[in-house]
């Protein structure tokens, strides 16, 4: 295996400028949407007192979960010592930082009082998993920046592995925290489950790797740098396992709920109801975002980079659908305030069989802008710093390559 040569991308082509232009425009639109919602108040959104977390949360939580997953590639190289993954460490860590920044931006800009961010940073209720997450998110930036520094600074090579181990443990705790935001909610039938934390971790493995693989393939194609099949094959097989593991956790979650009579109603609502959540669950999450990409990955189709790219896109879309079903679906199913009783009449929507939610355009624009911000950070990052290996050809990175 040769010494890896990292190099900034040239970043002068029309394509590069067009990419920056598009991402910048989406980011600006997102900021515009934020100012509009902040100025008017949340009455211009589809959210209300029943569905209190809407589309911005779907994107924000998806990006935050994917961020920790994107770091896995670096961890496999550093913590588990797989040599072929090591050249990907820098780009993996950059992607993790970028995705987290995009997700957090959306989360913060959807607050009722985003101007009070400093309060969130200075007043802590340590019993709140949300407060812990604020510490975990900030810490993640610190830990990963140090990790990248250790990777890039030759003098620090001795600290490279310890920094990687800290980052790996930190990311596991972080995603446990994100899953527990839902797992700790005792009041709602769809949440209140310990499986939420590990399920979010496995979701992060899958969504993060799907984004990583897609960005890697596009980045190397657009910069015309070599990207060999050896690394692609490994990442692809790993992605297949992760995507299948997500389905397994979803299965375990629903089977457990289906066993106890207590949860039959909420299961019926998600799995066999007449709302959008049932369609999203079966069509988008399970079939389009799960079974189809797994089928592509484990068939000969995945030898084609285009098909593999499609599989990653489907996993990402399935992930967004899964977030929608968890976050919106979990709220759409009414609180069981009076078990055994039927609400005949209420002025506050308690009598609804389920709550409806129609996301407004600004909410969607803000959410999508989180993805744009993440991609913008990655695009600018690889231009100004040496994140991308000049070559990921088999002969340059695969220790088992004979050629």
């Amino acid at each position: 295996m040769k010494k890896i040569n990292y190099l900034e991308i040239e970043g002068r082509s029309n394509g590069f400028l067009a990419l920056l232009g598009v991402l910048g425009a989406i980011t600006l639109a997102g900021i515009g949407a934020f100012f509009y919602m902040e100025h008017s108040g949340h009455h211009v959104t589809g959210m209300d007192n029943q569905i209190v977390w809407g589309m911005p949360h779907v994107f924000a939580v998806f990006l935050i979960v994917a961020a920790s997953g994107a770091l896995n590639v670096a961890s496999i190289g550093t913590v588990f010592g797989k040599a072929i993954y090591k050249p990907l460490g820098r780009i993996s860590t950059l992607m993790a930082i970028a995705l987290l920044a995009g997700g957090l931006m959306v989360l913060v800009l959807d607050l009722g009082r985003p101007d009070r961010l400093v309060i969130a940073m200075t007043y802590y209720n340590f019993k709140s998993i949300f407060a812990w997450n604020i510490i975990l998110y900030n810490g993640f930036f610190a830990v990963t920046i140090v990790y990248i520094w250790m990777m890039m600074e030759k003098k620090m090579v001795g600290y490279y592995r310890p920094a990687g181990i800290v980052a790996f443990i930190w990311r596991l705790i972080l995603t446990t925290g994100t899953g527990s935001i839902f797992g700790f909610i005792v009041a709602r039938s769809a949440y209140d489950a310990a499986i939420m934390a590990p399920m979010f971790i496995i979701m992060s493995f899958s969504f993060g790797l799907a984004i990583f693989l897609l960005v890697l393939m596009l980045g190397y194609q657009w910069t015309e740098r070599p990207l060999g099949d050896a690394i692609i094959k490994r990442l692809k097989n790993l992605l297949g396992v992760f995507a299948a593991a997500v389905l397994y956790f979803v299965l375990a979650y629903h089977l457990t709920n289906l066993y106890g009579t207590e949860h039959h109603d909420v299961e019926k609502f998600i799995l066999a109801g007449d709302s959008i959540h049932t369609t999203l669950f079966w069509v988008m999450q399970v079939i389009v975002g799960g079974l189809v990409p797994i089928g592509i990955i484990y068939s000969k189709l995945s030898n084609s980079r285009s098909w593999l790219g499609l599989a990653t896109v489907l996993i990402i879309l399935g992930g967004l659908a899964q977030m929608y079903v968890i976050i919106i679906g979990g709220q759409a199913y009414p609180l069981e305030i009076f078990p055994g009783m039927e609400v005949v009449n209420s002025a506050f929507g308690d009598a609804n069989s389920y709550h409806t939610y129609t996301p407004s355009t600004p909410e969607i624009v803000l959410g999508v802008s989180g993805i744009a911000v993440a991609m913008l950070i990655i695009t600018l990052g690889v231009k100004v710093l040496k994140f991308m290996p000049e070559s990921l050809a088999d002969k340059d990175i695969d220790p088992h390559n004979k050629g």
Binding site: G41, R113, A120, S128, V186, N345
Partner: protein, 256 residues
């Protein structure tokens, strides 16, 4: 505390309060007397010697009557024409009437539902900044200065008792500050119960229920064995809503 000590304690306070107890009596005969008698002067901090609570008798609560809801709205400046841009599901509601039917027996009841002022409130647990808090006397409130509008408390409340303010509010009631982008809920009319002893009144909902002649809502001090509330709770069977969650709400119900 044994019964003898407790009653002698209450007696001395009543003697001390003198005329103010009588003032309380004229407002809500027989009901607010004890809570007034156990009250503190305005300039002293609330203490855990008291725990404010309520007993709601669904047998007396009339279906279709919204006196408590109307009184709450007027008292706290809710739905007074100010939230014009918000859709129905976005408007604030601190107390609501809910009509229920037993799925098995068909028995129907009507009841008011609001913040249950839990001893172990999930909204307080989950609030990242500590803006959701419980006072020493059991009243659960939101500090409008430190609420960042994350709405996690609304996700966590098992009673859906909280509302988010979706637009700018004008013409607010002086005692009840509210703000766009923050969360709010029933305060048990703290501005009434925190008043100087001789001005203290029951929360607006309970007062209105009495005025309407239903007397379905008894407000008082759960820690005062001599309060009408404690006596009624001891005498009759009552239930906490979602008792399985073991939150020990300050609001109890009869007939559900």
């Amino acid at each position: 505390m044994n019964k003898k000590e407790n009653s002698s304690n209450g007696l001395s306070r009543r003697q001390f309060l003198g005329t103010s107890a009588a003032a309380g009596m004229t407002i809500a005969p027989g009901i607010s007397l004890m809570s007034v008698a156990e009250a503190k002067p305005l300039d002293t901090a609330v203490s855990s010697d008291q725990r404010w609570g309520m007993l709601i008798d669904t047998n007396k609560c009339a279906k279709g009557c919204t006196s408590c809801v109307d009184a709450c709205n007027t008292e706290n400046g809710l739905n007074t024409g100010d939230e014009q841009l918000s859709r129905q599901g976005q408007k604030a509601q601190w107390i609501r009437k809910v009509d229920l039917r037993d799925k098995t027996t068909g028995h129907e009841v009507s009841l008011p539902l609001m913040c249950q002022h839990c001893e172990n409130p999930p909204c307080v647990d989950v609030c990242p900044t500590g803006a959701s808090f419980k006072r020493e006397d059991g009243v659960v409130l939101v500090d409008k200065h430190t609420c960042i509008g994350c709405r996690y408390c609304m996700m966590a409340c098992p009673y859906k008792a909280r509302s988010f303010i979706h637009e700018e509010l004008l013409n607010q009631v002086e005692d009840v500050p509210r703000g766009k982008g923050t969360v709010e809920s029933c305060t048990l009319c703290v501005h009434r119960i925190d008043e100087d002893t001789n001005k203290q009144r029951d929360p607006a909902c309970a007062e209105a229920c009495n005025t309407a002649g239903h007397k379905a809502m008894i407000f008082g001090d759960l820690k005062d064995a001599n309060s009408e509330l404690s006596k009624q709770l001891k005498k009759h069977s009552s239930k906490a809503i979602r008792a399985d969650l073991k939150l020990n709400p300050g609001v109890r119900y009869r007939g559900i």
